[in-house]
Symmetry: C2
Subunit: 334 residues, 2 copies
């Protein structure tokens, strides 16, 4: 663990000024071929690399795209992989920052991260957040899965078509012959969760099945709440034969509770989720769910952002959701 090698060290070793070294490194002209060669040699020998921090303070561009997340959980990292691979071969590096790890203050990490990195370290940002929607940032910004799908305002956004996905999975349950289909809700403060409920309701209406309010319970994406909701559903005098949970984790918890109570899945109860997290395919039985094309969404965010860096206006993109039928859903008993 030695001291960092700075441009000064190079200048000294080469017997020239730091300005000359800088020019040599960055290919600016006004440097004699001999000097250029000489400096390059010293740089190689010393293994010098300019500090991203110092460079970014002085220069306008850093050629680094920032991916801002609350923390590195499966959803965020899958998006990150999409962003990363879409950026392959461009001049940009990727820097991902988890801004609410330390604080624990999950409130407003978006603005905080954006302020701390924007304007200097990164040329543009991709913000992974289901809630807040910062209205102005100091760099071009694309939000993924933001709450505000409200028309043309705010920054560019990329999100999945939640309602369509929920519609498709509910329709799948109906086509299997289910009539008493419950919905284990997500966080009702999230636009995405509300859209999923909407898709569920629409599918039932479309099939002429009245929505039984008792069959719609809160899950809140939180274990305790989901557990309670699952029990509530099964405690019903006329329990559902199928449940559409607002996300996979809720679906898995629903299955756990059903089994605990002696129900076989999918024979006695069908359960479907949403998201297609890695656990969904690894679960036994494998989970029927709706896939968010996360890698594609990340790539799309990159496309939008690069366009914006070239001066293009922001857009709002909705990506199609895909129904994935696996083994946690089947025809209702008898």
């Amino acid at each position: 663990m030695s001291r960092r090698i700075t441009i000064h060290d190079v200048a000294q070793a080469a017997g020239v000024s730091v300005a000359t070294v800088s020019k040599a490194i960055n290919g600016r002209d006004g440097v004699a071929p001999t000097t250029l060669e000489h400096v390059r040699e010293i740089v190689a020998r010393l293994g010098y690399e300019s500090s991203l921090v110092a460079t970014s303070m002085r220069r306008r561009r850093t050629d680094v795209i920032g991916v801002l997340v609350a923390e590195f959980e499966p959803f965020a990292v899958q998006l990150l992989q999409g962003v990363s691979s879409a950026l392959q071969g461009t001049r940009f590096d990727v820097l991902a920052y988890a801004g609410s790890v330390s604080a624990g203050e999950h409130l407003g990490w978006e603005r905080r991260s954006l302020s701390r990195l924007g304007g200097t370290l990164i040329d543009g940002a991709i913000l992974v957040t289901p809630t807040t929607m910062p209205t102005d940032a100091s760099v071009p910004l694309v939000a993924i899965d933001p709450s505000a799908s409200t028309g043309s305002d705010g920054p560019a956004t990329v999100s999945v078509h939640n309602a369509e996905g929920a519609f498709a999975v509910t329709e799948h349950l109906i086509s299997l012959g289910h009539r008493r289909i419950a919905h284990l809700r997500g966080r009702t403060d999230l636009d995405s969760a509300r859209q999923r409920e909407r898709g569920y309701r629409r599918a039932l209406e479309r099939a002429g099945i009245p929505v039984d309010p008792a069959l719609v319970v809160d899950g809140n994406y939180r274990t305790a709440s989901t557990t309670a909701g699952a029990h509530a559903l099964l405690d019903l005098a006329a329990p559902p034969t199928a449940v559409f949970a607002a996300n996979d984790l809720s679906a898995i918890e629903m299955i756990r509770v059903a089994r605990e109570r002696g129900l076989r899945v999918p024979d006695e109860l069908s359960v479907a989720g949403f998201d297609d997290v890695p656990e969904a395919a690894a679960h036994v039985p494998q989970l029927t769910t709706v896939r968010q094309p996360l890698a594609a969404m990340g790539a799309e965010a990159v496309r939008l952002l690069l366009a914006m860096l070239d001066g293009a206006p922001y857009e709002h993109v909705r990506m199609p959701a895909e129904l994935i039928v696996r083994s946690s859903t089947a025809a209702p008993p008898r």
Copy 2:
């Protein structure tokens, strides 16, 4: 997309000097309570956040841990998740940097990233690399899965016990009754791959089964090479009844080739992998493999790094590998 708000803007709006604002923000003393209150108010109103870049140039500590990867692929991001969750509740934020995305020069990205971020932006680094082992860096460093397991030299390291894992999976195949067990090798320039081959050989020896050189072919972790290796194995006069591939992706390719040639897996050919990537559990049939405890390894790297930041010496940690028996392995035919 507006201009960044700087400490100057705050100072001006508050009618005080920049230094005073800095003190107020960082809780240094020597600021009148009234002034403090006033400045804080302006900061809140303007939504000011100090620039990470500028702060890090001046200060010694940034309270940010860097995770340096070549690119964000599944292996790296699982490690990243482990690091991130281990850092929850500490004062540190996580910054992950993919340093070889732009260049395409996968050579020496480790040193480059380390030089560019170290010393200023990050207080310590966790380097995810299977190959190079930078000998000195400007910040405390922990390498995950490095080639050099060579004793006490170089930086701290965390790696999985590759030989033990390979031994276990080979022994599993033997216990199923297999005698002609092939090995589809990984990149022979990687220490980890060589260790896996060693574990394979040792298990055979231990069981008194001579190693048939024809049953050890190169896969190289690259599709083309793996495909060729798979065919070579099945072209043998006496083909193997089981194959241990050096990683899951190779195993999956092995299965694809076997099927293409009309072989049923696992009935006519057992195949096992290594790594337990997400695809392994999702594959049909689910893959028997060896799990690297990636999340735990990330957490362990954090533990080492935090200790080093407190002045502890570096260590070398080997984590246990876990045999995961699934459905791609079975007793040999008849």
